[in-house]
């Protein structure tokens, strides 16, 4: 699936987007955050406070317990500051 990062999440990871092959035991958004956090220091820094991270699956806001099974695009970003 395609994973996209925005704002300081993007800066800490050093990527705007990537395609990942997720292992079968990674079932929810929360699992995916945990799995990504172990990749390197940048990911760990981006997800150091997982509870503040906002998530969208296929461009719709979801909670961290949402299943990722059917997602084609998952985005991680900080709380929004538009307007």
């Amino acid at each position: 699936m395609k994973v996209r990062y925005f704002a300081w999440v993007r800066e800490r990871i050093g990527l705007e987007e990537e395609t990942v092959e997720v292992p079968g035991n990674v079932a929810t958004v929360s699992d995916l955050i945990g799995w990504l956090s172990e990749r390197d220091e940048g990911y760990a820094a981006a997800f150091v406070e997982p509870e503040v991270i906002r998530v969208a699956i296929d461009q719709t806001h979801v909670e961290h317990d949402a299943p990722i099974g059917k997602a084609s695009e998952i985005a991680f970003f900080p709380p929004m500051t538009g307007g």
């Binding site: 925005f6 704002a7 970003f77 900080p78 709380p79």
Partner: protein, 163 residues
């Protein structure tokens, strides 16, 4: 349009996400042209302030596609909640200098209350749910960084739920 309002049919909001500036007068005219049933037009314009001279510019990052989608969802909800005759929302992205426009909401209705409330509702949810992020560029080339979300904005949005 009268018939539509009475039958409960809702207007289709106009949503734009763009780098270019917008013209408030032109956007008001777009909603009012050729109509005689509109009694109230409320406009809200959000501008970039210089934070007492410290800020050189704001950089607005957005999630293309979702930004339009999320503003559209909020706008359609506003059109469900209030009897509007028109609703336009424009949000800019990219680098924005102090004094320049960031966001515009135009809400039109037969009576003022619906227009005021719909515009207020629109901004509260746009701030907490539309995927935009502000980065500050400081005048002294010092720190700057990403603007932090405010708990007060969540409180503002929560005003609209429940009784």
């Amino acid at each position: 349009m009268d018939a539509n309002a009475q039958s409960g049919e809702r207007i289709v909001p106009l949503v734009r996400v763009q780098a270019e500036d917008f013209d408030v007068t032109q956007e008001v005219a777009r909603l009012c042209e050729g109509r005689r049933d509109i009694g109230a037009v409320v406009t809200f314009t959000g501008l970039c302030r210089d934070e007492d001279g410290r800020l050189a510019a704001l950089e607005l990052e957005h999630y293309p596609g979702m930004a339009e989608g999320e503003i559209g969802r909020i706008a359609r909800e506003a059109a469900q909640r209030w009897p509007l005759t028109g609703l336009t929302v424009i949000h800019r992205h990219g680098k924005i200098a102090p004094g320049a426009n960031i966001v515009l909401v135009v809400a039109a209705s037969r009576h003022r209350r619906a227009a005021f409330e719909a515009a207020d509702f629109m901004m509260d949810f746009l701030k907490t749910r539309a995927p935009f992020w502000k980065k500050e560029h400081m005048a002294d080339a010092g720190a700057g960084g990403w603007v932090e979300a405010k708990a007060a904005d969540d409180d503002d949005a929560a005003r609209w739920s429940g009784g």
